[in-house]
């Protein structure tokens, strides 16, 4: 049983460690900038509100030493009214602060999320291969919520409480210098102790976050792979892996709690002791007559009022730490390079034009040599592959003439899917060029390239939208119902009309779930709806049953007649759609020819097609199925077809 006990690794080896909390958090500035006025005003309001709280004891002192001692009823009233007024002001200011930041901070969170989404959509596909979507999602949700909370509370309150402490200390020192010094005594040791624990806390907190990630992975896999776990009766060993990880997590969390507890203990005990010392000293001095009772009461009252700001520093710092981690995680993704913009078309076209032998206005028709889809000495290796690993594709030369349909055949893992991904530039070639009608795709704007090339993937993905929307995604905004109907017809997807709301039926994650064959047909419809110049289909008929497959093939032939197409094929029946076949072997195009030619001349091809179609008449258009070689095989094929 695989154990996912391996420590979670940061999927990107960026220089993220060793940066200070403050410097990390400063990266938030561009997002905070637009709301800075509100935020600063709010902080200012909060400082004023907090200081209002500090005036309470002063009024109290005035009352105790004045009207109360003198028995002055009116003075008492005055004092009480003053307190009431202060109280109202304080309440309103606190409310004002929150009102000031509520909408803007929700806005900051939304802006950061929108940016993340936008950025992720434009990162290379290779990036998405490396990162689980869950990892990205947690950055877009929990991390951003944490940051919003950080901006709302810890950031403001570190400032506010800092200011309150300073003002409070000034008041304390102003009231009585010696007593004030006594109270300040524990500051230095507290700072040292907190700094020490803070560093350790950060490390443990990050470890805990990573372990949660590992645990989540086990949960995810055990849910996604439930049929395998049940099919092999392996839920016990899966549960064991889960138990081990969750126990490890518990241990880490407890270690984290102990560090936190130590911080809190220090923060509780030291100031309390200082207040005690001040009380004793103050009592002596009141007894000696050096100090008024009112001053002592006010002094202690102020000191107590400062306790919450001081105590809170601990968790505010802890939250800041976590926010710094969240910021790091967020920018880990935001720092990844999006697909490089294509060079300016004019500059890029120049060399291509010189390479193209026929610089005519319509190269597709007048220059068949450069027209169509052409691979020139293409090499590809994954960007994260070790440098010594052989490239997935090397020296691939292939020319698909305008209007021609080329089937791509190769053994499992020979790089067929990878090759198809190069055409719409989901991956970038590492060497060589791919040209469309003579134009190097590396120089083309991706938007335009992807308008020219339509793709149907091996795994047909539908989005949460209506059937119609899912199909029309493949066309520019212009396509309407007629186009939709045509595309559905080509893909033989008339089952759509029997759905509850027809083409308006919701599908995808939040809608009706369709079978693999149905999804595949919709993906095919999506690929053909825009009448693309170039069509790339990755094993487009694999999940269809025999009858449907035959119908789709017939309809698809009409589309393919005037489309330049590359079709990955596993089966002879799919190969029949193509004019010619290219055999991909060992990362290279080993042979090109018609189905018949290759069957005759190429042993590997014959082996891949299992000799099932050997011996057909040569030279016929491949669209016409060859006659079967022997009856036994024929019967077998029939059985195969029936089996669907």
């Amino acid at each position: 049983m695989p154990k996912s006990a391996a420590p979670a690794e940061a999927p990107i080896d960026g220089p993220i460690g060793g940066r200070s909390t403050v410097r990390t958090l400063l990266r938030l500035w561009p997002y905070v900038r637009p709301v800075r006025t509100r935020l600063i005003t709010a902080a200012f309001v909060a400082i004023v509100a907090s200081c209002t709280g500090l005036v309470f004891p002063l009024v109290l002192k005035w009352m105790v030493d004045g009207p109360v001692a003198d028995g002055d009823g009116a003075g008492v009233w005055l004092g009480a009214l003053l307190l009431l007024a202060l109280g109202l002001v304080e309440a309103l200011l606190f409310g004002l602060r929150r009102w000031l930041v509520a909408r803007p901070l929700a806005g900051v969170e939304a802006a950061m999320r929108a940016d993340l989404f936008r950025h992720l959509q434009r990162l290379p596909v290779a990036f998405h291969d490396r990162w689980a979507s869950g990892q990205l999602l947690s950055r877009g949700t929990t991390d951003l919520m944490l940051l919003r909370m950080f901006l709302a509370f810890p950031l403001t309150f570190l400032l506010v409480n800092g200011a309150t402490i300073v003002v409070g200390v000034i008041i304390l020192l102003g009231q009585d210098f010696t007593l004030g010094l006594v109270l300040l005594a524990p500051v230095a040791p507290m700072v040292i102790v907190c700094a020490y624990y803070e560093g350790r806390y950060t490390a443990v907190a990050r470890r805990a976050q990573d372990q949660v990630g590992d645990l989540t992975t086990v949960v995810e896999e055990s849910v996604l792979g439930i049929r395998i776990i049940k099919g092999f009766g392996r839920h016990r060993s899966q549960a064991r892996a889960f138990r081990e990880l969750s126990h490890t997590l518990r241990g880490t969390e407890l270690a984290k709690a102990r560090i936190l507890a130590a911080i809190y203990a220090v923060i509780m005990a030291l100031p309390e002791a200082a207040i005690g010392a001040a009380l004793v000293l103050g009592t002596v001095r009141v007894a000696d007559g050096d100090l008024s009772t009112g001053t002592l009461v006010a002094f202690l009252s102020t000191a107590l009022a400062l306790r919450w700001p001081v105590e809170s520093i601990g968790f505010l710092l802890a939250m800041s730490q976590e926010s710094a981690t969240a910021t790091e995680r967020y920018f880990e993704v935001m720092d990844a390079e999006p697909e490089a913009p294509s060079p300016a078309p004019s500059a890029a076209l120049a060399p291509v034009a010189t390479l193209a032998p026929a610089p005519s206005a319509s190269p597709a028709h007048s220059a068949p040599e450069s027209g169509g889809l052409r691979f020139h000495d293409v090499e590809f290796r994954y960007p994260d592959a070790p440098p010594d690993a052989p490239p997935v594709l090397s020296r691939v030369d292939l020319h698909i003439r305008p209007g021609e349909t080329m089937a791509l055949v190769g053994a499992t893992g020979s790089g067929k899917t990878t090759l198809t991904a190069l055409v719409p530039r989901l991956h970038e070639v590492s060497g060589g060029r791919i040209t469309l009608d003579g134009e190097d795709i590396a120089a083309m704007d991706r938007e335009r390239l992807r308008t020219l090339v339509a793709v149907a993937f091996e795994e047909p993905t539908l989005f949460s939208a209506t059937v119609g929307e899912n199909v029309l995604m493949g066309a520019e905004g212009s396509a309407g119902d007629a186009e939709l109907a045509r595309a559905l017809d080509v893909a033989q997807a008339d089952f759509v009309y029997a759905l509850p709301q027809g083409t308006g039926t919701q599908v995808g994650e939040q809608g009706l779930s369709l079978s693999g064959g149905q999804r595949q047909r919709l993906a095919l419809a999506r690929a053909v709806v825009g009448r693309p110049r170039f069509l790339v289909l990755d094993d487009p008929l694999s999940a269809l049953d025999v009858h449907t497959e035959a119908l789709v093939e017939a309809a698809l032939r009409r589309v393919l007649a005037d489309t330049t197409a590359l079709i990955v094929a596993h089966r002879p029946s799919t190969v029949q759609l193509a004019d010619r076949v290219a055999l991909l072997s060992g990362g290279r195009v080993a042979a090109v020819g018609t189905h018949q030619e290759l069957l005759r001349e190429n042993a590997e091809y014959a082996w891949l097609m299992s000799g099932a179609e050997a011996g057909g008449p040569a030279g016929l258009p491949a669209a016409a199925p060859p006659s079967p070689a022997d009856p036994a095989d024929h019967a077998g094929r029939a059985a195969e077809e029936a089996a669907r």
Partner: protein, 652 residues
């Protein structure tokens, strides 16, 4: 493609999903048999799927029995009673110690000062010692409490996580198909997380707040009955305010969580489908759609924060008015000589503390709201009874000893009928015997019931009526381990777990040696591609999982099944992604390795049907033809007809 789709689709989806209408108990819909392998409504004109709005699987919450949430919380905490009590006592004492401060101040002013003036330092020393003790004790107790409560919290979370995990694993495949992986994952991640927040931050906050309320009130009452009563009276408007906030914020939070769920779904879906997104230039359209969802969340999020602002203003106003009133009255009484000055000073100090934690109470309410909602969802999940339970250890029967050298066993469907709970019948009553060692191919159109037959045999489902017998033993009487020695099913989706390739194959038999693993891989033709991976059998599939093609994954799945060495092997369209040589290798392996084993093959492909001893043709849940392949082709049944039709289409 990486397989992890953490699409936490936490939405209380009001979508028009009809895919689960089969589970609505009160209104059986005879039109709607929903074959598990194909959730498409039949194209028949009368087959309009009934979109039932009240289907529990359409919503996020499963029906929760009344009191289940509370019972769950109780059952989580009761084993930890001792520790909970310890933590509570620690907090109780700690708060008592902390609240002793102002009392010492009062004592110092009222007794200490006069005593010192009389040169009696006794009271002062008492104050000094008292304060020192308090300081030390409050620190130490704080430490002890945090550690003790962290233990309780972590044990509760450990327990809860384990329960969700084990329960989810015990629930039937049928349940998993309807509940969706996203929801299950979010149950055991985000929902557990919100409970963690409540436990680790909120609960301590609440207890502290409540305790200090009680302590301070008691202290004030003790100091002076009148002042204390006034303070206690101020709780009434505070309580009303809290209630009001709870109601209004609850609404806000629900809006917010619906909004964020929509954001999450869109986000996850886009990232999981990044290839088509790119290829079809959906970036801008997605940006716009996402912006709308994001904006909705922003509004509700801001709204929730404003609600909190209103609460803070309200609570502060009440608190400050109360303080002013108490001071006014107290000062008058001191002026009149009816109250000691120290008492007033202490009372005022206490009052400041009394109202301090009200803001934090608001925060607690927030985390409580979300944790309660989460816990309810979890309770709903845990309340589901596994539809396919393992037998009690005492009731379990072993399989009889094998009669021959061959590993195969006889399978018998004895009066089996299978229908969904809504009454949609998938398999009408039938009898079927598969002799030991026979390889049976099952063919038929989509929705004919082939997969259901296989799932009954694998005991992913239990039959509605009748029994499935393995060498005469009802599958329901076999323990989990015994069942999997008997029957193993390989499905079309070849999921790889994180870990190495070798570990993935070893799922078939965890105690297998490396030689056995390699032998299985060689037998199925997977050895070559595995050996060419960067680290061979030790390649981590997650790191390069996206680069192992669908066909290669199916080979790994096959090797896994070979290694498991079961008596009955079920292959459910298990070769769909293989190329022809791959298929040939599987076929060869079947000829040799599977000889003597009972095998059920649901197949699309020629080669697998070719090796079958017997073919079953299914239509509408019934076996309509049954015989050797050659015999059926020669006959006049639908199988032969299909075959002829195909031949004509090829020749013409």
């Amino acid at each position: 493609m990486t397989t992890s789709s953490t699409s936490a689709s936490t939405s209380a989806s009001t979508s028009t999903s009809t895919s689960a209408s089969r589970n609505t108990p009160p209104e059986p819909d005879p039109n709607q048999p929903k074959p598990a392998e194909d959730a498409t409504p039949p194209a028949a004109p009368d087959g309009k799927p009934a979109a039932t709005a009240d289907d529990p699987f359409d919503k996020d919450d499963l029906p929760t029995p009344p009191g289940a949430t509370r019972a769950l919380l109780r059952s989580l905490l009761s084993p930890l009673r001792g520790r909970v009590a310890l933590a509570a006592v620690l907090l109780l004492v700690q708060q008592a110690v902390v609240q002793a401060g102002p009392l010492l101040v009062a004592y110092a002013i009222d007794s200490g000062v006069p005593a010192v003036r009389a040169d009696d330092y006794g009271p002062l020393i008492a104050v000094a010692v008292g304060y020192l003790l308090c300081a030390g004790a409050s620190g130490a107790l704080q430490y002890a409490f945090i550690v003790a409560s962290a233990r309780v919290n972590q044990d509760v979370l450990l327990d809860l996580r384990g329960r969700i995990f084990r329960h989810a694993q015990a629930l039937s495949v049928d349940f998993h198909e309807r509940y969706t992986s996203g929801r299950l994952i979010s149950r055991s991640t985000t929902d557990v997380e919100s409970l963690r927040e409540l436990l680790s931050e909120g609960l301590q906050e609440l207890i502290t707040v409540l305790l200090s309320f009680v302590y301070i009130s008691a202290m004030l009452l003790w100091l002076d009955l009148g002042l204390g009563a006034l303070a206690v009276a101020s709780f009434v408007p505070l309580y009303l305010l809290v209630r009001l906030y709870q109601r209004r914020a609850g609404l806000m939070f629900r809006n917010r969580s619906t909004a964020i769920a929509a954001v999450i779904v869109k986000f996850a879906e886009t990232m999981n489908g990044i290839r088509p997104v790119r290829a079809f230039r959906r970036e801008r359209a997605n940006d716009a759609e996402f912006a709308a969802l994001n904006r909705r969340h922003e509004r509700s999020n801001g709204g929730a924060m404003l609600e909190m602002a209103r609460y803070v203003v309200g609570s502060r106003l009440i608190a400050n008015v109360a303080v002013a009133a108490i001071v006014l009255w107290g000062a008058h009484r001191v002026a009149d000589g009816g109250l000691a000055l120290g008492v007033l000073a202490a009372a005022v100090l206490y009052l400041r503390r009394l109202y301090d934690p009200i803001d934090r109470l608001g925060m607690f309410l927030n985390s409580y709201q979300s944790a309660a909602a989460s816990l309810e969802k979890v309770a709903g999940l845990l309340a589901q009874t596994p539809a396919v339970p393992e037998p009690e250890a005492s009731a379990a029967r072993p399989l009889p000893a094998l009669e021959s050298d061959h590993p195969g066993r006889e399978v018998r469907f004895d009066g089996v009928r299978f229908a969904y709970r809504t009454g949609g019948e998938v398999l009408p009553r039938f009898d079927l015997t598969l002799p030991a060692g026979q390889t049976v191919a099952v063919v038929g159109s989509t929705g004919a019931g082939k997969s259901t037959l296989a799932k009954l045999l694998a005991r992913f489902y239990d039959p509605t009526e009748g029994r499935v017998l393995l060498d005469g033993v009802d599958l329901r009487e076999l323990s989990g381990a015994e069942l999997r020695r008997g029957v193993v099913m390989v499905t079309q989706e070849a999921f790889l777990f994180s870990g190495t390739v070798a570990e993935n194959i070893a799922i078939g038999r965890p105690d297998a040696t490396r030689e056995e693993i390699e032998h299985a891989a060689k037998a199925i033709g997977a050895h070559d591609f595995i050996a060419s991976l960067p680290d061979g059998y030790d390649t981590d599939v997650r790191k390069r999982g996206g680069r192992i093609s669908a066909g290669q994954r199916q080979l790994v799945a096959f090797a896994r099944a070979l290694l498991a060495d079961p008596a009955v092997l079920i292959l459910d369209e298990a070769t769909s992604s293989l190329d022809i040589p791959g298929e040939r290798a599987v076929q060869r392996a079947m000829h040799t390795v599977l000889r003597g084993r009972t095998a059920v093959v649901i197949a699309h492909r020629l080669s697998t049907v070719e090796i079958a001893d017997r073919v079953l043709v299914m239509e509408h849940g019934r076996v309509v033809e049954d015989g050797a392949p050659a015999q059926l082709i020669a006959g006049t049944g639908s199988f032969a007809e299909l075959h002829r039709a195909w031949r004509e289409s090829v020749v013409s």
